[in-house]
């Protein structure tokens, strides 16, 4: 065993940079989290611990606006993530379990296209598209746009999972005269559940998270949480915004942790 001094893998200072990196990533979030419990009216001075801004979020003068925005966000994210997950499962079956075919590469490129086009360009293109076909902007336009750009995020964990599941199980089932549909429903789908859940959750977060595209394609008066928060922040950062942010932050962390745990769960053994 080589001592730490002579281990060629070690670089002095890399640990400090890593810790600095984590500090930079977490410091703003932690500080906003702390200040959301501030009793003071101003965001500058600290007046002791209080839950008043959380109460303000649910009962205050702006609570109605944020409540509607939160329901919109949730409703849109659930529909968009569900549709994106279904599309991603079907596409993954063709791309990963469909043998070699001419449009395979193109299909794969198409599925990941929304990741390559800058978000602002997608936003402009989608707005122009809805305008050109005379589709009036509202909830529906947001949902359609979200489905499209959530597909790659749902696809990644689902495809990775499908690659991890050997096809010998399905082959065995089909040798025993299961139809393709039965092989899918009884063998592949149950084995895919962890991948599907984490794909759905990632798509859900991406949809909840989106500001730019939503801001372009939403109709007048339709707000999601990010657009409502953005509108409020333009007037200045207020303590109730920090309380909302902290709650959303907690939600994101819970969902990502869930997705992480589910994806580690191995039911193929």
């Amino acid at each position: 065993m080589s001592s730490s001094k002579t281990d060629v893998r070690r670089y002095p200072g890399f640990l400090s940079v890593t810790l600095l990196c984590l500090l930079v990533l977490y410091a703003p979030l932690v500080i906003v989290g702390i200040y959301s419990f501030n009793a003071s009216n101003s965001i500058t001075s600290w007046d002791g611990f209080s839950l008043r801004w959380y109460a303000e979020v649910f009962t205050g003068s702006e609570s109605e606006k944020f409540k509607i925005a939160a329901w919109n966000s949730l409703f849109i994210a659930i529909i968009a993530a569900s549709c994106a997950t279904i599309l991603a499962v079907l596409a993954a079956m063709a791309i990963i379990r469909g043998g070699q075919f001419r449009t395979r590469q193109i299909s794969q490129g198409l599925v990941s296209l929304p990741l390559m086009v800058p978000e602002i360009v997608t936003a402009v293109a989608t707005l122009i598209f809805f305008n050109a076909i005379g589709f009036s902007r509202g909830h529906m336009t947001i949902i359609i746009a979200h489905i499209a750009f959530c597909v790659p995020f749902a696809y990644m964990p689902i495809a990775a999972r499908m690659q991890g599941v050997e096809d010998s199980y399905e082959m065995a089932a089909m040798d025993l005269y299961a139809s393709r549909f039965q092989a899918f429903c009884r063998i592949l789908l149950p084995l895919m559940i962890p991948g599907i859940i984490s794909g759905f959750l990632l798509a859900f977060i991406i949809s909840m998270d989106d500001f730019l595209i939503t801001n372009f394609v939403k109709g007048a008066g339709v707000e999601t949480l990010p657009t409502a928060i953005f509108g409020a922040v333009k007037q200045g950062i207020k303590p109730n915004i920090m309380a909302i942010s902290t709650m959303l932050l907690g939600l994101s962390i819970i969902i990502v942790s869930l997705s992480y745990i589910v994806s580690k769960f191995d039911n193929t053994k």
Binding site: C21, P118, F211
Partner: protein, 311 residues
């Protein structure tokens, strides 16, 4: 994170080969109508004439591109001069994105290397710690950054109380704030591909270098960096491309004086400017720049692969 991990798999499995076109049809339909189609329509719109309250008139011309590159005076009858306003916004955006990419690389590389050389059991946890902030709402992260960096914010309060500075630093509404915001938004994109590359790296090469009397830092520069270069390039692209067209960081942290491409385009559709063909043209120019970066990177990678380099 760009799905590269799924491209190298074998394609022996063909359970659903018979119905693959039906399986692909829904994704093709959605992505062609909602992504590819709109991009084509956007290209057409960039050649149309603007209508004053937003929207377009169906008359084809090059006015939008002309406005981008040339200044023909207030009434459009003077000899064309180069219009620097928009070119300089694009140039500044490239610069800002490049600086953010460089900072991400300087912080991200040691982090990725450090994580990849941890014992296998703790690696996943480190990666998880790095990725969590990415999944937190970008708007909230940017607002948090602004809150932290404010003139009367916690960072200045901390620095003042420790006596490092005696005047609050003005960071918000400067270029530095935008660079910090971009760096903060996309750092995980730098760490993950480099981490993946270092994980594949054979550390016996470093040992060989050490045996031949190379110092650690020479080994890093001459052995490790060339071997993990594809990961570094992927990381740089994944930070640079979204930074270039980002909207939230420049808008919230940069203020009105630090206009970037994203704000320029947004202004054409949601703001005061209301010039749709010009916004479409500006988007096309941004998209072309991004495509050039991606194509150059893909060709270099293909060439490296053909030359037998480790990819």
């Amino acid at each position: 994170m760009a799905g590269g991990s799924t491209s190298g798999g074998s394609v022996k499995a063909d359970t659903y080969a018979g119905v693959r076109h039906w399986l692909l049809a829904p994704s093709w339909l959605v992505l062609l109508t909602v992504v590819v189609g709109p991009l084509c329509i956007m290209l057409i719109y960039s050649f149309l004439t603007k209508e004053f309250r937003g929207g377009v008139v169906w008359e084809f011309n090059l006015a939008a591109y002309d406005k981008f590159f040339f200044d023909r005076g207030l009434f459009g009858d003077e000899a064309p001069r180069i219009e620097w306003t928009y070119i300089s916004i694009y140039w500044r955006s490239i610069l800002q994105a490049a600086i953010a990419t460089l900072v991400s690389l300087l912080i991200g590389f040691p982090t990725a290397y450090f994580i990849a050389t941890r014992p296998t059991t703790s690696r996943a946890l480190w990666v998880f710690l790095i990725t969590i902030p990415y999944w937190v709402n970008l708007l909230i992260r940017t607002v948090s950054m602004k809150f932290l960096l404010r003139d009367q914010g916690p960072l200045n309060a901390f620095l003042l109380s420790t006596g490092i500075i005696d005047q609050p630093l003005t960071i918000v509404n400067t270029d530095v704030a935008v660079q910090l915001g971009l760096f903060y938004s996309y750092l995980p994109f730098m760490v993950l591909p480099i981490y993946a590359a270092v994980e594949q790296y054979d550390h016996r090469l470093s040992e060989a270098a050490a045996d031949l009397y190379a110092s650690r830092w020479i080994a890093l520069r001459r052995v490790i960096l060339p071997a993990v270069k594809p990961g570094v390039i992927a990381g740089c692209i994944l930070v640079f491309v979204p930074s270039l067209g980002s909207f939230l960081a420049p808008d919230l942290l940069g203020g009105a004086r630090n206009f970037m491409i994203g704000s320029l385009i947004e202004d054409q559709f949601k703001g005061q400017a209301g010039d749709w063909p010009f916004g479409a043209a500006a988007s096309m120019i941004l998209l072309s720049m991004v495509l050039i970066v991606l194509i150059v990177a893909a060709r270099r990678q293909a060439r490296a692969k053909a030359a037998g380099g480790e990819v």
